[in-house]
């Protein structure tokens, strides 16, 4: 059994919470005490039917205001797969939450209401999923029951979305007509839409192929922690612990350590369960090298002829996540792989309108939930790749050094 991470976006009106509630309910991932509590809450609110949306609306503040304030994580499993759902609210002020949820997602699920068709926010969600390089996108055309399960309504929305998607860099797009409330095409194919020949949503989620989405070409091993047991048994032991960010490493491989540039060979790849022949993304392992060279946290092990950029000048798309805007000239702490440094904003090249994709070249700041193209200068070289090539060596966060808040998320455009 493997694991699929999915991010969902949409507003309450699209029926997103109902859809997730339905997936949890139909895979028997909700429990009777949770159902009882939802039934009780539905009765108290005077709802006509059991409001499955209440299964996912968590905090008291949210229930009272009928809103979702943050990313919530849900879990369900079928015999084939375990699923982690990052459930994010869809309104524009929650761009940062969707960016957060999408950063680790294998698949993004976008909902539209069949009666309303594509909205500005559907396009925004698709754009953000692409920006975060989520490999698979699913558009659920929901509330098909309210349009009489009409094929032409579905086809019109599908055509419109497909045309829009062509402008984006979407790897894999699937469009499914559903009714989350009734359960059409959620777990099994719906008899009400015999014209639809594709898979049910759950069937698609169970079978979408994600193993090849990781970068298995470029060897990238950010050194996280140096293991040196102070014990007699392991007197000369030195191991470099970390999580593989890219490529496949094997004992005997000739490797280079950056930024020093020293070459050496992998002596062994170890885990607490014993040595392994190969390490690949996202395994946490310990690498031992044949030569005693100085390697520490923040360094990167890669192949001699395939190295990331080593640069203090970073060109990146930045999503701003803080109330205090970002302006050129400001300095922040930057975290990238296992490296920490400081970064100065040299230049804001443009701010992107996430609805129209229009570039505002005159912008002089990025406010909360804005996305823009930024040039940074860092105090130490970053060892980075283009984000599209590797999310884990191309993504970074900016931290305000006085408040310690995480204020921005960056995706490297070009690494020179």
């Amino acid at each position: 059994m493997d694991l699929l991470r999915l991010a969902t976006a949409g507003s309450v009106d699209d029926g997103k919470s109902t859809l997730i509630g339905r997936l949890l309910y139909d895979t028997k991932s909700v429990f009777t005490d949770q159902i009882e509590s939802v039934e009780r809450a539905s009765r108290d609110r005077g709802d006509d039917y059991v409001n499955l949306a209440l299964l996912t609306d968590g905090l008291r503040a949210e229930r009272e205001q009928g809103i979702t304030i943050d990313v919530a994580y849900r879990y369900f499993a079928t015999p084939r797969r375990k699923f982690i759902v990052a459930d994010t609210p869809g309104h524009i002020q929650y761009t940062r939450n969707m960016v957060t949820g999408a950063s680790t997602a294998d698949l993004a699920l976008i909902l539209v209401d069949a009666r309303k068709g594509l909205l500005e926010q559907s396009r925004r969600h698709a754009f953000l999923a692409t920006l975060l390089h989520v490999p698979h996108l699913v558009l659920c055309v929901n509330k098909m029951d309210l349009v009489g399960y009409a094929e032409d309504v579905f086809e019109r929305i599908r055509a419109e979305f497909t045309e829009f998607a062509a402008k984006l860099d979407i790897g894999d797009l699937t469009v499914i007509p559903v009714s989350a409330l009734i359960g059409d095409n959620i777990v099994t194919r719906s008899a009400a839409m015999s014209w639809y020949e594709g898979p049910s949503l759950l069937h698609h989620l169970e079978n979408v192929h994600v193993a090849s989405d990781r970068n298995l070409i470029d060897v990238r091993f950010p050194v996280q922690y140096v293991i040196r047991p102070q014990s007699d048994k392991y007197r000369d032991y030195r191991g470099y612990a970390g999580q593989v960010a890219g490529g496949v490493l094997r004992a005997g491989d000739e490797v280079m350590v950056l930024p020093s540039g020293f070459s050496t060979t992998i002596a062994s790849i170890e885990t607490a369960d014993g040595p392994v022949e190969e390490a690949f993304p996202m395994m946490s392992v310990t690498i031992r090298l044949t030569d005693e060279i100085d390697v520490s946290r923040g360094d990167m092990i890669c192949r001699v002829h395939n190295t990331p950029a080593v640069t203090q000048d970073v060109d990146a798309m930045v999503c701003w996540m803080d109330d205090v805007p970002m302006r050129p000239g400001q300095r922040f702490a930057i975290k990238h792989t296992t490296r920490s440094a400081r970064a100065m904003v040299k230049d804001l090249q443009y701010r992107l309108d996430v609805n129209s994709l229009h570039r505002d070249l005159a912008a002089d700041h990025l406010g909360l939930n804005d996305i823009g193209r930024v040039r940074l200068r860092t105090t130490q070289p970053l060892l980075c790749d283009e984000y599209k090539r590797n999310r884990y060596t191309g993504g970074f966060v900016l931290i305000d050094e006085s408040t310690n808040r995480t204020v921005g998320a960056g995706m490297v455009n070009e690494a020179r």
Binding site: D2, Y75, Q224, I227, T271, V276
Partner: protein, 301 residues
């Protein structure tokens, strides 16, 4: 592991947790791991052991001891700590009661008064990062909490003021007096925990497996009749085959009827159960929809 270079769900969760634990060890001066002898903290301790192998775990473990313990669990705690050669810090609720630092609520339960005792111990030992075994599938409030959960100088969680977490990057920067609660098991479910216990052949306190026990029924739950929890008028005691799904304060934790006396039987039972872990076994979470949210805001685990 096959040539498709795909990890199983347990391998993915294990790798993620090890990454989180190493990140904390690399970035914090004084981390501590909360270890109660319960199954989640046993799994967490195992992951910490794996993260630094063959070196020892480079931080101490701490138990917030309510004084209402199952003796089997306490014995297990001491045994496991001895095997790993880690330092054990005990923050005692009884001792805090004795010196008047906290007052016992009228019902005698000690869950809520653990919080000030925990916070005092963190301050005394200057622990800045605290590993907890909480999982997001346990409760609606936990579903929204970060892996690195920022706490102010009062240990309080503010759900509206959480740091975004992207990729595998965690922001552990704090000012003096503030702290981070770290939850490496955030993405694990109860079933994942049990499958991992089976895979790793982890030993657990015996009360997690079905056994005969003298119990009585209260609020639809089965409580063991012991020195901390006595039946009141009208509550009849009887012997039943039970096991514990969670192990907490012995005055609050209920048992469930079960024949599952091996790990495989427990996995089968957990896979088919229709009641959440906390709903089935915790007398303290039933009272209010927002019970956990309120406790976390006060500085609870």
């Amino acid at each position: 592991m096959s040539r498709t270079y795909q990890l199983t769900q347990l391998q993915t969760l294990e790798s993620e947790a090890i990454h989180i634990i190493r990140e904390v060890a690399a970035e914090f001066e004084r981390p501590v791991l909360l270890f109660s002898g319960g199954k989640d903290s046993i799994v967490m301790l195992r992951l910490a052991q794996k993260a630094f192998h063959p070196a020892r775990i480079p931080f101490p473990v701490m138990h917030v001891d309510t004084g209402h313990n199952f003796p089997e669990v306490l014995a297990f705690r001491d045994k496991r700590v001895g095997e790993l050669g880690v330092q054990l810090v005990v923050a005692s609720v009884q001792e805090a009661l004795d010196r008047g630092f906290v007052q016992a609520p009228p019902d005698g339960t000690r869950n809520r008064i653990q919080t000030p005792v925990l916070l005092e111990a963190l301050e005394k030992h200057q622990f800045s990062a605290v590993f907890g075994g909480a999982r997001r599938d346990e409760d609606k409030a936990r579903a929204k909490e970060r892996v690195f959960s920022f706490r102010d100088e009062f240990g309080q969680w503010d759900p509206k003021n959480q740091r975004p977490e992207l990729w595998n990057l965690y922001n552990g920067r704090i000012h003096l007096g503030e702290s981070i609660r770290v939850f490496p098991l955030s993405n694990w479910t109860e079933l994942d925990i049990w499958q991992y216990i089976a895979q790793e052949r982890l030993e657990l306190p015996c009360i997690y497996y079905a056994h005969e026990r003298v119990v009585f029924e209260r609020n639809g739950m089965l409580f063991a009749a012991n020195e901390f929890c006595r039946p009141r008028g009208g509550e009849e005691t009887f012997t039943a085959k039970v096991r514990y799904r969670t192990v907490g304060d012995a005055s609050l934790t209920a048992a469930v009827l079960s024949d599952a006396d091996t790990v495989d039987k427990v996995i089968a039972e957990v896979a088919s159960t229709r009641i959440t872990e906390r709903g089935a076994t915790r007398g303290d979470d039933k009272f209010s929809e927002a019970a956990m949210e309120d406790r976390k805001r006060e500085g609870y685990f």
